[in-house]
């Protein structure tokens, strides 16, 4: 199709004015564009060159595999430095082994294989009316043969049997999969009156006099290892202990007795979705959850300062025992961690 400005109407022949003088509603499809030959179609020398390139790429692959095998048998593993070298060499060997094959095949297909486009017909996806009719007839015949329409009790019995039998699989599965299904455990921890606060992870008890102002301890209950499922209990019982100047501490009347000389203990389990709230900012007394940035003010009843949490962290009431070590007065007064449906029941 010529499209030079000197022959500006080069592309117009396809627009046929109908005999009655009207134009078609839509443009007609001009049909396939002519095939453009590649360099390797026209020049046998170039085709030979492409062939050599493909061979070279396959050769790269072979070399890659050999590199991989040699590296496997010769390079040691065990130390981080060894691992680094081994991983890099094995990986590069494998990568070249694969990329060699891949690029060779694609290059071959693009540059040497026949690139004349082929046109195939499509047919509507739906089956022909005759086939549909035959299918419906087949189902009718089958239903007729089974006599199901005339035997209502049989139908009912079959449906009941089929509907009931999965219970034999589902009931034991559901029964066993949730252990004892006692979700009330969410509400309690193993903190109790007199349980010592010990450091996580070394388990040393904390003397109140050793806690300096501004210091912060990650704390677990002393009786943790005696629990039936220590990890489950730890997940609920982790506590953060902070000491601040008692003048900085705002406490409600009810909670005045929950702290000891500026030392407060709060649950470390975020009330949002349960991450450990582990980042303490000394100057502002803010405690930040690194997962979703809920921020709590420890000097003010763990009030929410920012973020997606909607409840303050529960406070653990503490005191000191006769030897001067920090102990719990009781369990938390509310369930720790994220909210759940039965939380207040």
């Amino acid at each position: 199709m010529s499209t030079t400005p000197d022959q500006p109407h080069g592309g117009h022949q396809d627009l046929v004015v109908r005999p009655d003088g009207t134009l078609p509603e839509r443009f007609p499809d001009p049909g396939m564009e002519p095939h453009r030959s590649r360099k390797s179609d026209l020049d046998e020398k170039h085709a030979k060159k492409v062939e050599r390139q493909v061979v070279a790429l396959f050769a790269v692959s072979v070399i890659g595999t050999l590199v991989f095998l040699v590296a496997y048998f010769t390079l040691p593993v065990g130390t981080p430095a060894d691992i680094k070298v081994s991983n890099l060499t094995l990986g590069l060997g494998l990568a070249f082994a694969l990329l060699g094959i891949g690029t060779a095949a694609v290059h071959w297909a693009k540059a040497l294989m026949n690139d004349h486009e082929v046109v195939d017909e499509r047919h509507p996806v739906q089956s022909s009316p005759e086939v549909r009719e035959a299918a419906v007839q087949a189902l009718k015949d089958g239903a007729e043969d089974s006599k199901i329409g005339r035997r209502g009790v049989l139908k009912g019995a079959m449906v009941s049997a089929l509907a009931l039998f999965p219970l034999a699989i589902v009931v034991p599965l559901v029964g066993e999969v949730g252990e004892d299904w006692n979700v009330g455990k969410f509400k309690r921890t193993i903190w109790a009156r007199g349980v010592r606060l010990v450091k996580d992870p070394d388990g040393r008890p904390i003397k109140a006099s050793d806690v300096t102002i501004g210091s912060v301890f990650h704390v677990i209950p002393e009786n943790l290892e005696e629990a039936e499922h220590p990890l489950d209990e730890k997940a609920k019982a982790v506590v953060l202990v902070v000491r601040m100047d008692p003048r900085d501490l705002k406490e409600t009347e009810e909670r005045k007795s929950w702290s000891y000389d500026g030392i407060v203990a709060y649950s470390k389990v975020c009330t949002h979705v349960g991450c450990p709230v582990a980042l303490y900012e000394q100057q502002t007394h803010h405690l930040l959850c690194p997962c979703h940035q809920s921020t709590f003010d420890i000097s003010d009843g763990a009030r929410i300062v920012f973020g997606p949490a909607s409840r303050p962290l529960p406070q653990l009431p503490i005191e000191v025992d006769s030897e001067g070590y920090l102990v719990a007065q009781s369990d938390f007064h509310e369930p720790v961690g994220p909210s759940f449906w039965e939380r207040l029941t």
């Binding site: 500006p8 592309g11 839509r26 297909a109 499509r122 979700v183 489950d232 449906w341």
Partner: protein, 596 residues
């Protein structure tokens, strides 16, 4: 290749012929080969996206089988005695210990782990991008709606596969991810606590989770994915692949290259390329160095922790939601919307919209035809804008999921970033929708402009009268066809509410709703140039000539009809005939933006 039918077969030829004969007598494989060997597939780079998904999945299977030989799915506690000094003497689960062994003591183990993880990230990413391609080109239209749903389920399964695998090493990072999952599950009203027990076999973290996740990860999910991939590809063969619009491509044909040999080589080769690139990434880029994180312990947590990319949008949604008075107590029961909305409701809406979109669009387009020629995204402004809006929302959530990283990298206040994202999550998608729709309409106008007036040639010609014109070069018929081949889409028109006898028509309300949504979809539109419009532009140079009967203008075609531009029109200078100049107007007042 010589076969048994060749006059003088070679030895290999005879052997191949004999094998083929043996197989065919027992399987009638000849029919399948005849049917499929020369099956035609259209060619386009964007069709490779789905292939990347398939090949990265195969890569995952290969590397995954290797990993199962050495990984121990157990939560039994052991003391680490291996070569990794920083963890020696620590108590950890066998799952974590065996992951360390895989990384440090099994030759090639670390490579396989990194291949597996990188391939998983690429698997989900390629599914998402492939889905975008299908969405924006309208490849989900009849008869492919069901295959869209199959693909959607595959996306969900890929997320499940990724998440379950991510948690298997039982390191502190993935453990905290599980803890967040537990918190999210518990927020579900009525059944949340029980669902948590169902997953963890009692309280979090328990001792059942890793073996359970292992079964999900290596058996249930991969089996489902494999089965659905089979179905997905079966549909592709049944429907024959879609093709992009172009000369000679119609809804009744498929233009491309035969499966054998072109796609056997191209697609087969592409598998090696995908696997090779993943191997290159695994060799050079460390991913998920669990040996630095340490074994799971409910107490510690790392700052700046990020999940794998496909979970970031959920993490971002959780971070954006303001807390405060979003928890309600109904009777004795607690409803915690600050978790439920971002982690359950928002993704629920996003995913449902994605799954149902083909059915919604078909309903409001009243379109019952089969479509095999793809849409150019600009020709579907509403759909394209809707898709971009969803993507922008997704992207903002992903960024919000990295707000701590953004804060530390750019030295910004994390609170400020969060406030900005809280606004952006509403404003961003709306703006993106508006902008994309306008952009599509402008591109369509540009198409009309090109069809009617041709390319600017930058050739200025001066006439004897002193008049300057720029010569426009008309489009050839192939260039033009691409810009006029699509159907004009108009809003649905519904019948009256009552029929001729004044009886209320059944289903009128539903129709009225469909028509209302249809107006939202198609009210703003630019229709393709019709032959009459084109002819008018060629011959008269005036768009308003459209109103005249087209036939009367046809003879003027012979006059030359150059596309010329008059930079400075002097009145009285217009030559009435012969020139057929086109006056390209700075604005296009002929109502190309035709409102229904």
């Amino acid at each position: 290749m010589s076969t048994a039918t060749t006059a003088t077969p070679t030895r290999t030829g005879r052997a191949a012929g004999a094998t083929a004969d043996y197989l065919d007598q027992r399987t009638s494989v000849g029919g399948a080969v005849k049917e499929f060997a020369r099956k035609v597939f259209p060619d386009h780079w964007s069709f490779l996206l789905g292939e990347i998904a398939l090949y990265s999945f195969v890569t995952i299977l290969i590397s995954g089988v290797f990993l199962t030989m050495f990984y121990v799915p157990s939560m039994n506690e052991v003391e680490y005695t291996g070569p990794w000094v920083t963890q020696q003497g620590l108590h950890m689960t066998e799952a974590y210990a065996s992951t360390l062994r895989l990384s440090f003591e099994v030759r090639g183990g670390l490579l396989m782990r990194q291949i597996h993880h990188w391939a998983a990230l690429i698997f989900v990413a390629s599914i998402v991008v492939h889905m975008m391609r299908v969405f924006f080109t309208g490849a989900f239209r009849k008869p492919r709606e069901l295959n869209w749903v199959v693909g959607f389920v595959l996306l969900v399964l890929s997320l499940l596969a990724g998440f379950s695998g991510y948690s298997l090493p039982d390191d502190v990072l993935s453990g905290n991810g599980l803890r967040i999952t537990d918190g999210v599950v518990r927020s579900i009203p009525v059944i949340g606590s029980y669902l948590s027990y169902f997953i963890f076999g009692g309280e979090f973290p328990g001792t059942d989770l890793i073996p359970r996740l292992y079964t999900v990860h290596v058996l249930l999910v991969p089996a489902l994915i494999l089965a659905l991939i089979g179905l997905h590809l079966l549909f592709v063969v049944l429907h024959k692949h879609t093709q992009y619009p172009g000369s000679g491509r119609t809804d009744k044909n498929v233009v491309g290259y035969p499966l054998f040999p072109v796609y056997v080589a191209k697609a087969g080769g592409f598998f090696f390329v995908v696997f090779g690139v993943i191997a290159l990434m695994a060799a050079t880029m460390t991913i998920n160095p669990v040996w630095n994180y340490g074994p799971y312990d409910p107490s510690p947590v790392g700052a700046g922790a990020q999940p794998d990319w496909y979970m970031l949008f959920l993490e971002g949604a959780l971070r954006l939601m303001p807390g405060g008075p979003t928890e309600f107590v109904i009777g004795q029961y607690t409803l915690t919307l600050n978790v439920l909305i971002p982690a359950v409701v928002v993704p629920g809406i996003l995913f449902s919209a994605l799954a149902l979109y083909p059915f919604i669009e078909a309903a409001v387009t009243d379109d019952r035809r089969e479509h095999h020629v793809l849409d150019r995204p600009r020709n579907r402004p509403f759909r394209t804008a809707f898709g971009v809006a969803i993507l922008v929302a997704f992207f903002i959530l992903v960024l919000a999921g990295s707000n701590d990283i953004i804060a530390t990298h750019f030295l910004l206040s994390i609170n400020d970033i969060t406030y900005v994202f809280r606004v952006l999550i509403f404003v961003g998608p709306a703006l993106a929708f508006w902008f994309t729709k306008r952009f599509c309409l402008s591109l369509q106008r540009k198409d009309r402009e090109l069809v009617l007036h041709g390319h600017e040639s930058a050739r200025i010609v001066r006439f004897a009268s002193g008049e300057y014109i720029e010569v426009h070069k008309p489009l050839d018929e192939h260039e033009r066809w691409l810009r006029v081949q699509h159907d004009p889409l108009r809003p649905l028109e519904i019948g009256p509410a009552e029929d001729a006898r004044g009886v209320r028509r059944k289903g009128h309300r539903l129709d009225a709703l469909r028509a209302r949504v249809s107006r939202v979809f198609y009210e703003d539109r630019v229709e393709p140039v019709t032959p009459a419009e084109w002819l008018a532009a060629q011959s008269h140079g005036e768009h308003d000539a459209l109103e005249a009967p087209a036939a009367t203008q046809a003879p003027q075609l012979t006059g030359g009809g150059r596309h010329l531009v008059e930079p400075d029109v002097q009145d009285g200078e217009r030559r009435p005939t012969g020139g057929g100049r086109n006056l390209v107007e700075p604005t296009d007042p002929d109502g190309t933006d035709r409102r229904g």
